[in-house]
Symmetry: C2
């Protein structure tokens, strides 16, 4: 089973990506679970947090619910079914091989993640990977991977989770979660679906692999 987070930054590029993932999941018997980002809905939550007196606790709740709304949108344009708990998600995977997870009920029911903007859908995707005992997660975003400097730097093929510092295309809590739970991570540009398919096939392509070698 593969877990792929499809970032909200891909909202208007998601249709071809979801379509290719659906085809791949059916042809290769590689089951795929999609975790949506919060997209423009989460930006509204950020505004309410910054300018409307919304607490971090409530922002966390509304931000995870924003992921649900984006997930319903992804489902609509792809005809991939949704599930709001992992029991149902596994049931759908048996028949359909692919499912979109609406994560708010899971995240709020266990409430293991801190309520902070350091935790975004990247960390939530890794958390769900941990609940599913997966050892890798793919983060599809709108940049090619992680750069040694951004925006003018060099794209990194690999980086150790321990070395990730400062501004990157992933949230700052993610490396901790990856290290803690021994989960590898691929950061890839979802505007090029073939790159994700190549990760799924263990082929090289343009992306950054976050390794968790603890030496």
């Amino acid at each position: 089973m593969h877990l792929i987070k499809v970032g909200g930054s891909l909202t208007y590029f998601a249709k071809p990506l979801l379509s290719e993932l659906k085809i791949f999941s059916n042809s290769e018997e590689n089951k795929i679970i999609i975790v949506p980002g919060g997209g423009a809905f989460a930006n509204v939550v950020r505004d309410l947090n910054e300018k409307g007196g919304l607490s971090n606790r409530s922002s966390h709740k509304l931000a995870t619910m924003s992921m649900d709304l984006t997930g319903i949108y992804f489902s609509e344009i792809s005809n991939i079914k949704t599930a709001d708990n992992l029991y149902e998600a596994k049931k759908i995977l048996e028949d359909d091989n692919i499912v979109i997870l609406l994560p708010s009920k899971i995240v709020l029911s266990t409430d293991e993640l801190p309520h902070s903007w350091n935790i975004t859908s990247d960390s939530i995707a890794a958390y769900i990977a941990r609940l599913l005992n997966l050892n890798s997660v793919i983060i599809a975003t709108d940049v090619d991977g992680i750069y040694d400097n951004y925006p003018e730097g060099k794209l990194l093929n690999t980086i150790n989770a321990k070395s990730i510092k400062g501004f990157t295309s992933v949230d700052s809590y993610l490396p901790k979660l990856l290290l803690k739970h021994n989960i590898e991570c691929f950061v890839v540009n979802g505007k090029h679906p073939s790159r994700i398919i190549n990760i799924l096939k263990n082929n090289n392509d343009i992306y950054t692999k976050i390794t968790i070698d603890k030496k």
Copy 2:
């Protein structure tokens, strides 16, 4: 019991309004049920509908869920409890006299309203009033009421639901619902909480009353 829709356009003006409603509900034993608008979350849904291939059916679902998110925000800044069904709402009203309704579960479970942008939270508020057998509904928005011409016209004290045509500050389906279910409606500027309190006290102030006289 009074039903007040607090429009999303009041997002950044909602705190004093909710605070005054809370005080009024406790002092006067006038129970208040608040129905939130969709606010900026619903604008994201509109964009997805116009530019992202989201169908009207799914837009309806996401727009009502947007009302839930705005309702959770209103709850956070006011310490008024939320309920996502009318059974729980009535239970909370027994103790607290005021409650914020998260309407998506109700609207989707009965699915009596058309899936169209002619139906917004105004019509949903009137629909909930009907479920509660109320004979009036208050719509708090960011303008003073309904004008004979907008923006340059005269504010109307009253207008018959049958006479509402074209652009107004309420959605175009609302007059039909009001006439069908014999519900009066007050359209009032929520930036001036005292005007709403005056409606609740049957006092005159600045607002438009939509009458349903069928002659």
